[in-house]
């Protein structure tokens, strides 16, 4: 397409990604509250809208109406920038996901690498949030959060790399096209590693000490209120959806290789299932201690990912 069309399409796709992630966050928060409610022998939101569907919308309106507080000690510009630095990379990474077989909003030759690399920038957002709050414990929470994200990048990357070796390409669209049913068995280990590493990347579930450090301490986003906090939450829930969608595309062939709308519907269904698994994990398990978290990444997940790589390498050579 011509460069003007490409530019227009870029803007549209970018805005679209932002809207998609906002909707994903809206639905994600509602679903989390319902699922966690049911796990805890209660219903979750019920009053706002049918089955509480409008609850998140109501909460968002409330957050927008809140006073915008910036701590007087904090570094204003950095403080205000940090939530967006956490949010934008995750939204951006969703653009390369092939939502239908053979089509992605942005078809990059190195789509898989783009998807793995770009969300890592949000670690800087976490660090900046903690640092700019000028609150010693928020800083420590931010440092821990960033260290966690960086550590779990490795198993995540390796597990995706295993898939790229099988498919012989890092282009997500081509990878999806060349997906075969037996890949599920071959990359099962990698899938497990990817799922756990993604949960850790998002500072969620059993790995949420930096943010639920607010149980003990001020977490890295404790000084954020109102819509700034909501942006962090959008980053988190958007990340959940992005990670689940990527797993559905990569490990399950995005709708099991079925074309057209049916394929997209199945893709969304698998995404929802994986997102529910992440929610389930959060509300079932206690939190890991930071040192346990790190040793788990380096001593357990990374070796598992390397084993997966070896398995896949053997298969690829053998074929």
């Amino acid at each position: 397409m011509s460069s003007v069309m490409a530019l227009i399409w870029g803007v549209v796709a970018g805005l679209g990604a932002g809207i998609v992630i906002a909707i994903a966050a809206l639905i994600g928060v509602w679903w989390e509250r319902k699922v966690s409610g049911r796990i805890q022998l209660r219903f979750g939101p019920q009053q706002a809208g049918p089955a509480g569907l409008l609850q998140t919308f109501a909460d968002t309106v409330k957050l927008i109406l809140k006073e915008d507080i910036t701590p007087s000690q904090a570094d204003r510009r950095m403080f205000r920038m940090a939530p967006f630095l956490a949010f934008v990379p995750i939204a951006t990474s969703m653009i390369v996901l092939p939502v239908a077989k053979g089509w992605a909003p942005l078809q990059l030759a190195a789509g898989a690498l783009f998807f793995i690399a770009v969300p890592g920038i949000s670690a800087a957002g976490i660090l900046l949030a903690g640092w700019s709050s000028r609150n010693t414990y928020a800083t420590l929470g931010g440092v821990r959060g960033a260290a966690q994200v960086v550590s779990y990048e490795l198993p995540r990357t390796l597990s995706v790399l295993a898939l790229c070796v099988l498919g012989g390409t890092v282009n997500l669209v081509t990878l999806q096209e060349s997906w075969r049913w037996w890949w599920i068995a071959a990359t099962a280990l990698g899938f497990v590693v990817y799922l756990i590493a993604s949960i850790a990347e998002l500072n969620r579930g059993p790995f949420d000490l930096p943010e639920a450090e607010s149980e003990l301490v001020a977490g890295f986003f404790a000084d954020y209120s109102g819509i700034r906090w909501a942006v962090f939450m959008m980053a988190e829930y958007g990340g959940i959806v992005a990670a689940s969608a990527f797993a559905a595309i990569a490990f399950f062939g995005g709708g099991f290789g079925i074309r057209g709308v049916a394929g997209t519907v199945i893709l969304l269904a698998i995404t929802c299932v994986l997102a529910t698994v992440m929610i389930w994990a959060k509300w079932t398990f206690p939190r890991m201690r930071p040192d346990q978290l790190m040793s788990f990444a380096w001593k357990v997940l990374t070796p598992m990912a390397l084993v997966q790589l070896v398995i896949v390498g053997v298969i690829a050579v053998w074929l």
């Binding site: 966690s36 003990l216 079932t284 398990f285 206690p286 939190r287 890991m288 930071p290």
Partner: protein
């Protein structure tokens, strides 16, 4: 904020090197559990080098207030000592009064007291275990534990009208007899309690992450437990086989068959698990007591204003936290001259300053949770 950095103190360590210590205040209001306890923690990097518990944030002068009230008027004050376990807080005080005034309690009342106290023990342990789990992040277990606690609290509401501070066990007996159908509701509860406890045990204590958080954290040896005056599940988890119900029995406990739960390692994991197993034993006791309970009066005849002989009396019971004792001094008048409460939470909490050394801040939170302090009792 519950956690504030107060200062950086530069000290000289034992080997002559300069040590930069971070002094952190785990403030009186915790975000989740336990009440108002403050811990001033000195950290060397991540490791705790010193912990000072600071208590008194819930001091209401209950012992002093007791001096200005008649013996019966003191009862609601005892509810608010250990507000998580009002029934046995009431009972400890009543035993002291009964010893002082030589009151004989009817048998039915004793059985009711045992049933109610053991139910309270289960409810209190559910609070303790649930709060410990919530500290480590397993919020679902907190809700499950509270589901069980809610059933008990509803039983108590049917019995005496209150959900938290019951004022039910009175000197000489209990205040109300069991309503019709209460024993059936109790059997319904006993029918589900065992499976729910097993479910909680597997869900939390069987979980590998919970094990990693709690095993080996805050190990209290049996000698230290005795030396520091620790009682209750915290001591029994360390292997100290002391339970007032068995070793200094009172009420109708000698007629009931149950085991004392003793642990091996004395770490936070064992302390939590001991509480769960004690709940099984309590359920056993309740079943036996409900079966054996005779009819009859529920209250000894007492004068309207009780004025015991001059003198003093001390009596203790096994509460969910340990040995809860009440010491009363009487000068012959209708008001106690002095009341003192031997609070297990107060005695148990001091050992935190030893247990947390060498652990991280996250472990400190787990240790405090496993000791299960209730600051109403600790501060009085």
């Amino acid at each position: 904020m519950s956690l504030q950095v107060e200062e950086r103190r530069d000290a000289i360590g034992e080997d002559g090197r300069a040590v930069e210590e971070l002094v952190v205040n785990v403030g009186p209001s915790h975000p989740s559990t336990h009440g108002v306890g403050r811990f001033i923690v000195h950290l060397d990097g991540e490791v705790v080098v010193k912990v000072d518990p600071v208590i008194g944030y819930l001091h209401r002068g209950i012992e002093k207030m007791a001096e200005n009230r008649t013996y019966l008027q003191v009862m609601p004050l005892t509810d608010r000592l250990d507000y998580v376990g009002s029934m046995y807080a009431n009972w400890a005080y009543c035993r002291a009064v009964e010893r002082l005034a030589d009151i004989a309690v009817p048998e039915r009342a004793e059985y009711i007291r045992v049933i109610v106290c053991e139910l309270q023990r289960i409810a209190s342990h559910m609070m303790g275990v649930g709060a410990s789990a919530a500290d480590t992040g397993a919020f679902t277990l907190f809700v499950y534990a509270f589901d069980l606690r809610e059933r008990i609290v509803e039983l108590f509401e049917d019995l005496c009208g209150s959900r938290l501070t019951y004022n039910y066990v009175r000197p000489g007996g209990v205040s109300f007899d069991l309503p019709d159908g209460w024993l059936d509701d109790l059997s319904a509860f006993l029918g589900i309690v065992d499976e729910k406890l097993v479910e909680m045990d597997q869900l939390f204590f069987g979980n590998v992450i919970a094990r990693g958080r709690m095993k080996g954290v805050g190990v209290l040896s049996a000698e230290d437990a005795v030396a520091w005056g620790i009682t209750g599940p915290s001591a029994r988890a360390s292997g100290v086989n002391w339970d007032v119900r068995k070793h200094d029995p009172y009420s109708v406990y000698p007629l009931l068959d149950f085991d004392v739960v003793v642990g091996d390692n004395g770490d936070s994991y064992d302390r939590g698990r001991t509480k769960i197993f004690e709940c099984f034993e309590s359920a056993k006791i309740i079943r036996q007591a409900a079966a054996k309970m005779p009819g009859g009066k529920i209250h000894a005849p007492l004068p309207r204003l009780l004025a015991p002989r001059a003198g003093d009396a001390y009596d203790h019971i096994e509460s969910a936290r340990g040995t809860l004792g009440v010491y009363l001094v009487s000068d012959g008048s209708v008001r106690p001259y002095r009341m003192h409460v031997r609070s297990p939470a107060f005695c148990n909490l001091a050992v935190v300053s030893k247990l947390a050394l060498g652990h991280t801040l996250s472990d400190l939170i787990v240790i405090i949770g496993s000791l299960d302090p209730v600051f109403g009792e600790c501060d009085r």
